[in-house]
């Protein structure tokens, strides 16, 4: 088997973060490889490194034997690599046909007019991906699935030998998933090498020839979809399992009016439904975990609560509707979110980041909280003068949590704190959460994919799946009822 795409020893570092460390994979002509890994595992970075959008620090990317590592994307593209982007930004003032024609144009400055056969080829591609009926419409008027078809059409236009597809089925209905699967299977029949990047095995299992699972920038398992799903290390990565927490007393049900009530909230991103009729309730002092795979809608839910995305439905804080309040006002009111992306000020020091979080406090109060933060996360104390961007992933997460705590939240929202972190760091984070739960009155709303991390602290658990809450209950019942169907 001669591989069409051959990646070996690929390394990419962002500041102190190792996003990809020694990645290797190969795909033969007419083969579909699924690259899976939880959020933050580095799979998107691998895709960008192959395409040349990011420059690798080490390693090789061979396309039909030619090493293209470090080439600019347009040269990689001409070498025969096509990328189907997940989020498209088509030309809005041009029609669908013109958008497809764009992909068929040569990269030349002196060819003012397209070859006559471009029009014909564009129409043929549109037919093939199912856009034949909407050729003269503008992208803004198309439903979500058709925009994805347009991206597929543009990638086909370049006649790539290697096709990279980012989350092929995200946001599609089951009927559309079938049509897209057929199109991708068509690539295989034509002898192209296909790389599908997705969060979990389930989504791509029916389509792929092989699956490669990665975690923390490295491959951890490879084989058929069934083999990878059964792999103990993969199960541990997705469901957790490597962390030890102190045994805790049985969860207590707290009574009284809810501190935060989310009632029937819907969120639409363009045409994709990100949340559908979601309702949750949190009482003062509770620790609530919302678990769900990536893309289920956790971040959207938290962003709706924080006033960062528009929504339909009602979100109330101490009985008062939050709609109409600015994100800043909501944060000052006591709902502090520690986002998945951490959003640290990278070119500021650790201390400056913390001081910013506590900028509304008196000097004495700030010093007291700072002392508490250094007790909670001792590593931050020794790193005070270091720039945030140069911290390791785990340290950045600790800083993000500490900065959120400096704002003295009544409700602390933690969005996937385990994202891309090694098990040893998870233990430290878990202990910090335990301290928070037992020694402070702070209410916590934790969003997690890693169930083992999310369960031990939780008083109650919500399961979010495909934009909907599908299960609610206490952690003990979760293990018995919902756990098995989760991966």
């Amino acid at each position: 088997m001669t591989a069409l795409l051959q990646v070996s020893g690929l390394v990419k570092r962002f500041g102190g973060l190792v996003a990809v460390g020694g990645m290797a994979l190969d795909i033969a002509p007419g083969e579909i490889l699924g690259l899976i890994g939880p959020n933050g595992s580095g799979k998107s970075t691998v895709m960008k490194l192959i395409m040349g959008i990011e420059r690798p620090d080490a390693g090789s990317v061979r396309i039909g034997g030619v090493d293209v590592a470090g080439w600019p994307p347009h040269r990689v593209a001409r070498q025969g690599v096509g990328l189907v982007f997940q989020h498209s930004r088509p030309l809005h003032r041009q029609t669908v046909l013109e958008n497809i024609k764009l992909a068929l144009l040569p990269d030349a400055l002196l060819r003012l007019f397209a070859d006559p056969d471009v029009e014909e080829r564009a129409r043929a591609i549109a037919q093939r991906v199912g856009l034949g009926a909407v050729l003269d419409r503008r992208p803004g008027t198309l439903p979500f699935a058709d925009l994805r078809r347009l991206e597929l059409a543009k990638a086909i236009g370049r006649d790539p030998k290697v096709v990279l597809v980012d989350e092929p089925f995200a946001g599609l209905t089951s009927g559309e998933v079938g049509a897209f699967s057929d199109l991708i299977a068509g690539f295989r029949a034509e002898g192209r090498a296909v790389l599908l990047v997705d969060h979990n095995v389930k989504g791509v299992a029916a389509l792929v020839d092989r699956v490669l699972a990665m975690y923390l920038g490295e491959p951890i398992a490879q084989g058929t979809a069934e083999q990878v799903m059964r792999d103990p290390q993969v199960r541990r990565v997705y469901l957790g399992g490597a962390i030890e927490t102190a045994a805790r007393p049985a969860p207590t049900t707290k009574s009284g009016p809810p501190l935060l009530a989310v009632e029937g909230v819907d969120v639409l991103y363009g045409k994709a439904q990100a949340l559908e009729g979601v309702s949750i309730q949190i009482r003062e002092g509770e620790f609530i975990s919302v678990v769900g795979l990536n893309g289920a809608g956790k971040t959207t839910l938290f962003n709706a609560v924080s006033g960062l995305v528009p929504y339909a439905g009602r979100i109330a804080w101490e009985g008062q509707a939050l709609a109409g309040r600015s994100a800043a006002a909501i944060a000052r009111g006591g709902i502090v979110q520690c986002p998945e992306s951490r959003e640290l000020f990278g070119s500021m020091s650790v201390r400056e980041n913390l001081d910013l979080g506590g900028s509304h406090l008196t000097k004495a109060e700030r010093a007291r909280l700072l002392g508490w933060m250094f007790e909670l996360f001792p590593i931050l104390k020794s790193r005070q003068a270091q720039l945030a961007a140069t911290l390791s992933g785990g340290e950045q997460q600790m800083l993000a949590i500490a900065r959120a705590l400096m704002m003295q939240p009544r409700l602390l929202i933690l969005d996937e704190p385990t994202l891309g972190l090694a098990p040893v760091i998870l233990e430290q984070l878990s202990r910090a959460l335990e301290t928070l739960r037992t020694t402070t009155p702070i209410t916590v709303l934790l969003g997690e994919q890693n169930v083992t991390f999310a369960l031990p602290h939780a008083d109650r658990v919500y399961v979010l799946e495909h934009a909907r809450i599908v299960w609610e209950g206490d952690p003990v019942r979760f293990a018995q009822e919902a756990g098995a169907a989760y991966l």
Partner: protein, 306 residues
């Protein structure tokens, strides 16, 4: 080409040009002089829109290119007495060369830094004019021995033809295959690259075309005015006028930029009796247009027709 002939905007422009062509039969020399100026300004603005509207790069220093063309042509003429066409061509070549010298390093920068570089370039050029005053006439200005014509109508027709031809080329370019690629490079450079387009190359080419027309127009302008001074062809305020004209007329329309330039210059003149207040009113109207109808005058017209 077929697309161009089918475009209603194109035929509307032809109609406007036809009306403009018969104007000298009925209006005073003063009005013709004003419109002549507006037409050269129109070319500045159209050349600017190619960069902003299509390549997605904000050039805060259009007068760097205009000034290079103007002073290049003017100085060559006053020093050597070479014929006007040679001087104009020299000015245009100088603008492209200067533009390349600036854009090659500047386009490596991302975000607002490109714009800032172009802004600084204007200040540099202004200083050069002062430093080399024995050739450039310094702050007072350079008197140019040759002029295009002393007849108002002739000057008017030269400017109108120049604007029409420039507009046709720039508009055609924007609607061509290259314009499509350029727009893709401006809107989503990552995806454009993934489709195999060398984004830097296309943006640089757009910058050269923009520089060529800015330089040509700048050179023609000094042979119309008979003088070149920093206040008329280099000053930041002139550059801001060019930008306002293009945005007022409508981003990504090319032709809108010429409309904006005409509106801006004519409005400035009509309101002149108000003194200082006229600049204020023109600026305020421009500001309101940008805030309320960011797609510009032509953008609004085109949207209503759809």
């Amino acid at each position: 080409m077929r697309g161009l002939l089918r475009s209603r905007l194109f035929w509307a422009a032809v109609l406007v040009l036809a009306v403009a062509a018969v104007l000298p039969l009925g209006v005073s020399g003063y009005v013709l002089g004003l419109l002549t100026l507006a037409y050269y300004f129109g070319v500045f603005a159209m050349a600017w829109d190619l960069l902003f509207g299509f390549a997605g790069e904000v050039n805060f220093g259009p007068t760097f290119l205009v000034g290079l063309g103007a002073y290049g042509a003017g100085i060559l003429n006053s020093e050597t007495g070479l014929p006007i066409p040679v001087c104009v061509l020299f000015g245009a070549v100088l603008a492209v060369a200067g533009g390349l010298l600036l854009a090659v390093p500047a386009l490596r920068l991302s975000g607002p830094y490109f714009g800032l570089t172009t802004l600084v370039a204007v200040l540099l050029l202004q200083q050069m004019v002062t430093v080399f005053a024995q050739y450039s006439g310094g702050e007072i200005g350079l008197t140019i021995p040759d002029v295009l014509s002393i007849d108002d109508a002739t000057n008017y027709y030269i400017a109108l033809c120049f604007m029409a031809v420039s507009g046709l080329i720039l508009f055609g370019l924007s609607r061509s295959a290259l314009g499509l690629i350029l727009q893709a490079c401006g809107q989503d450079p990552v995806e454009a690259q993934a489709l195999g387009f060398n984004v830097a190359k296309h943006k640089l080419a757009a910058f050269c075309v923009s520089a060529l027309f800015s330089g040509l127009a700048g050179a023609m302008l000094v042979f119309y005015l008979g003088t070149a001074s920093p206040g008329t062809v280099i000053d930041i305020a002139v550059g801001v006028q060019v930008i306002i004209a293009a945005v007022l007329g409508g981003r990504r329309t090319i032709l809108g930029a010429a409309v904006g330039a005409a509106v801006l210059i004519v409005a400035g003149e009509v309101l002149r009796p108000l003194g200082q207040l006229s600049t204020f009113i023109v600026s305020a109207v421009a500001l309101l247009t940008i805030l309320l109808v960011p797609s510009g005058l032509l953008g609004v017209l085109m949207r209503q027709r759809q």
